[in-house]
Amino acid sequence: MFSSYFKLAIKVLGRHRFFTFISLFGISFTLMILMVTTSFLETELGSHPPLTEKDRMVLLPRLIMKSLVTDTTWTVDTTMLDGQPAYDSTFTVGKQRQNSYSSSSLSYSFLDRYMRDIPGAEAHSFFCSDTQFDIFINGKKLNFKTLYSDATYWEIFNFNFLAGRSFQPSEVERQVQVAVLSRKAAVDYFGTTEQVVGRSIEMDGRQLEVIGIVEQPSNSKDYVTSEVYLPLTLMSGSALTETGFHGPFAAVFLAESPQARSTIVESIRQKADRIPLPNPEDYNKLELMPATVIGLYAYYMMPVQDDPEGALQMFTLVAIGLMLLFILLPTLNLINLNISRAMERSAEIGVRKAFGAHSGSILAQLVFENVVLTFLGGILGWLFALALIYLVNDSQVLGDTQLQFNTAVFLYSLLICLVFGILSGLLPAYRMSKLHIVNAIKFNNL
């Protein structure tokens, strides 16, 4: 039965070539955008190295200090008492309001003092991803983003090592002058990634031994994306000894399980209430902003202040809304086109019903035909998407983010095709399946 439907679906496509072109163009363009968007989200939010354990991670990128004051309103009444004026005053206490606000990343000493024993965390790492160095080599200036971390950082984030290894706790402790480079940094500095391990790189007036080369993370997250990775004990100045709360550091905690992340988040929030504030007259409220990988991503995308979970909700709503809108508009258009095309086939539907097709088989036939059309559009859309992904990656319009079209994206795309095909075919098919046979046969177009 379906081979007959398939044969007919292909033949019907050839009936009105311009109409077919419009349909296929609409479908393929829509699916291309959806596939590229899916690819982008999969690249940014998927469990790829070094974020293979992202579902167990809690990040602590920010600390917020607030000065909260309570408004008090005084009311003074004057009355005459025994011929003398008397004064009576009352006051009302209003809501607490925020007087001043300070938000930044954290200092190493704060993390070291308060964030080492967080319940539910299997491991933790403190790192600073906020430094850049200019390096001059062969008359060329290179700007390398540098990330300082402890050794545990490499246990939490699973980088793909092209060569060599990460630094060890003892090397961090002894301030050994070692560096891990990204593939890009190795190529920029040495012109190759071959036999770079063991060679030296001069940076910030120091000779650093390259001990490892990692594959560039394919996403845009600044807590993993860097050109040079150094032990945090090599940080210059007072970065590690500064006693204030604010600083250039962030933390990552690895939960025992994805479910245990909420324990970590709650523990961090509760701990903030117990930490004594250095200058309560300036700031009397401390808040910490723990976030999941996806929550933090949403936080950077959405204008929601200091609330990654709220940002994630908004991000999800906006993403779903945009996706639906993007699917719905061409679907409505396609439904419209499909209805007019299906009406031309009224007589055929009538004949089929006269010869024993029931409404369900007509519905199945027309939806199947539309799914075939959508899959053809899907194949075109897939080719367009591959081309667009190549262009986006080649032009580096998304910076370090390298879009990938992998199995997950392909499966999502198949699902999108199916949903799109069924959605846009269902209503016209339903209307046609309910046609009265006698009325349908009166149409002479077959």
Partner: protein, 221 residues
Amino acid sequence: MIQLENITKVYQTKVIETTALDNINIEVPEGEFLSIMGPSGCGKSTLLNIMGMIDEPTTGQVTVAGKLVGNYHSKATARFRNEQLGFIFQSFHLINELSVIDNVELPLIYRRVSGKQRRQMAEAALTQVGLSNRMKHFPSQLSGGQKQRVAIARAIVGQPRIILADEPTGNLDSAMGNEIMDILMRLNQEQGTTIVMVTHDETMARKTHRLVRLFDGQQVS
């Protein structure tokens, strides 16, 4: 084989009520070749459609092949129609995108018959109407008479007990019309298929066993 009792069909709009059929009682015995005649708009096609269970009477009872027709839109009625009835239309109603043999196979698609068996049955039906050499052709490559023969092959491929033909020769010249009529008569005589045919052509009608005349929705003979 077909029994119509007190059939009326009324088309009602907000403004006007039109009686297409008024208290029709007809019985068609098994193996009969019945023709229905009458002027345009007298209700011939409506009557044929009611016999074929593709239209519903306003009142009255329809019994086809021993089954009292109840729900006209059910899956069971569709299956019954598929097994018991074959239709031939004046304007052929072949699907232009499908080859001749694919058109003939159409009723079998809804019958859970294997692809191989479908092909064999369709070939046999086309051979029966003398078109075995046109199986791979498309309807647009055939003459009117050939198209109607394909339509007959489609109607008989499922070996129905009843064939309902709505002016099968109406769009054909007399030679081709006679050819079609010969095929129908042969079907009736050799296989005992019950045939009800609507026609405007007195000559064709006279070749059948019995003639029913309608006028303004009423049976006049």
